[in-house]
């Protein structure tokens, strides 16, 4: 089976990719779960910053003022003050990097500003030039670096125990232990994995992870651990650290077993399928099966909350002109819900029970971003928003066939997802059943060991995750 493998970062630059193709990157404010996602503010073009002056022959590190020419996620194309329309020394850097400062930082730190050598003699009075250029201009807030640092503090710690979906049996959960926390993403190792390689990646807000005891409390299947005693140092994660689900009232009209609906296939996120409510659990959770491809023992039923953005009322695909995947083996095509309901003697789940909230997410078709690859959840890939249906985004991985596309939610309550092995599809076990996450372009997730952000393009972090460029872009430019 063909799988997406890590591709060398050599030769790939988000800046070049965006600039040379006139792409637009999704702004940081679209990613509420990502660092600075909720406090990015109005950082935009023309904002001035103090940055190292690399066009200088002085032996000490000196700085100069630059303005943002273009933003692409966290990356900014900067131009030194004094270059006016000359883009000759423009450079990309990560605005959250440790070398980017608000105007005023250098004076407070006792570091003189020195104009670049190229324009050194362009003006005789730099003070008058800077006063004229900067008065009334915008800069970063003085506490910007502190905000960046705070936004990258995560409450999850290694050794915390959680309940997480069993990637080999979607219908049940298992206990796993947090092995590492990188950019808000957790590497979980199933508790019985002796060599600690049986792992699972997901974001800390994933709907696939829960506090220990959750499964029992709502009636979800659970694989009891053979380990009867907690290992030294391991402890149960406090329940309040997990994403909260919306409270629902199940006392009135509610989902019932056998009701039909449309659902994103957790085994193949590129498709929305004909599905059935198989079991109604407590607290609004539902076990759902994909019609025509369910295992006889129900081992591939999966749990979605009633408010999940991954389940839809009958007719959703037709209304929105999305291809609905009919039950495997169903021959009466084109598929008609009316006929199918009659033939199966079933009813459609009431429309009013579904989540119809559409957040003002800010995504637009064509925007570039970094998205987790569900085939290889260690990887974060260069991707594009190709379709938007209300809160649902169609994500295309640049350079890969459309078959790999995935439907994801625009907000942090993304649906569950697992890997799809091309041409093996559902017969396979999952390499990484996980939540799809989207990241702004140029994000540099860091571990709790506080690796500093560095500017621009990166090659992985902690050796575990890396940005995967489009295959066609790997040749050095």
């Amino acid at each position: 089976a063909k799988t997406k493998a890590a591709v060398s970062m050599e030769g790939f630059s988000w800046g070049n990719y965006i600039n040379s193709n006139s792409f637009i990157a999704a702004p940081v404010t679209c990613f509420k779960h990502a660092p600075m996602g909720t406090c990015w503010g109005d950082i935009s073009e023309n904002v001035r910053v103090e940055v190292p002056n690399t066009d200088c022959s002085l032996p000490t590190k000196v700085f100069w003022i630059a303005g943002i020419v273009k933003l692409a996620g966290y990356n900014a194309l900067l131009r030194y003050e004094g270059f006016e329309n000359d883009s000759g020394l423009d450079f990309w850097c990560n605005i959250c990097g440790s070398d980017i400062h608000p105007v005023g930082w250098c004076a407070a730190s006792g570091k003189p500003l020195v104009p670049p050598r190229t324009i050194q003699h362009k003006y005789t009075n730099w003070k008058a030039f800077l006063v004229k250029r900067l008065t009334g201009a915008k800069t970063l807030p003085p506490d910007f670096s502190q905000k960046v640092s705070e936004s990258m503090q995560y409450p999850f710690r290694p050794c915390m125990r959680v309940e997480v979906v069993d990637k080999r049996h979607l219908c049940r959960t298992r206990v796993a232990v947090v092995e590492s926390v990188i950019g808000g993403r957790l590497r979980l190792v199933y508790e019985e994995s002796e060599d600690r390689t049986d792992d699972f990646w997901c974001h800390m807000h994933s709907p696939l992870i829960h506090h220990v005891g959750w499964s029992r409390s709502i009636g979800h299947r659970f694989k009891r651990s053979d380990i009867t005693k907690k290992q030294d140092g391991h402890f149960d994660t406090p329940p309040h650290l997990f994403a909260k689900v919306k409270e629902v009232d199940q006392s009135g009209e509610w989902f019932k077993e056998g009701m039909k609906l449309e659902a994103i296939d957790p085994l193949n996120l590129s498709t929305i399928c004909v599905a059935t409510i198989r079991k109604v659990l407590a607290d609004g959770f539902l076990m759902i099966g994909i019609d025509g491809s369910e295992a006889a023992d129900g081992s591939d039923w999966f749990c979605y909350h009633a408010t999940s953005p991954s389940i839809f009322p009958v007719g959703f695909c037709e209304i929105n002109m999305i291809e609905l995947t009919p039950p495997r083996g169903y021959t009466k095509l084109p598929f008609k819900w009316f006929d199918y309901l009659r033939e199966t003697g079933s009813i459609a789940a009431p429309v009013k029970l579904f989540n119809k909230d559409v957040p003002n997410h800010g995504f637009r078709v064509g925007m570039k971003l970094e998205a987790v690859d569900l085939m290889e959840p260690r990887l974060i890939c260069v991707a594009t928003v190709t379709r938007i249906i209300h809160r649902l985004l169609r994500i295309h991985f640049d350079g890969w066939e459309e078959e790999y596309d995935q439907w994801v939610d625009s907000s942090r309550e993304s649906q569950s997802g697992s890997s799809k092995q091309k041409k093996k599809a559902k017969s396979q076990q999952y390499k990484g059943h996980k939540k799809k996450r989207k990241m702004p372009v140029g994000k540099k997730p860091v571990s709790l060991s506080s690796l500093p952000m560095t500017g621009g393009v990166r090659r992985g972090f902690s050796g575990d995750e890396e940005l995967t460029p489009p295959p066609a872009q790997t040749a050095p430019e």
Binding site: G41, D42, S44, L130, K138, T139, P141, P142
Partner: protein, 34 residues
């Protein structure tokens, strides 16, 4: 202060130090208030 976009921006005196000496200019920066 002034409303620019969704965030409140404040005008502040910002110090600048060049080889010619130190001076200040009035610049805008986002405040914590919205």
């Amino acid at each position: 202060s002034s409303e620019i976009g969704s965030r409140k921006w404040e005008q502040k005196q910002v110090h600048i130090q060049t080889l010619e000496g130190e001076f200040s200019v009035a610049m805008w920066s986002p405040s914590d208030q919205k």
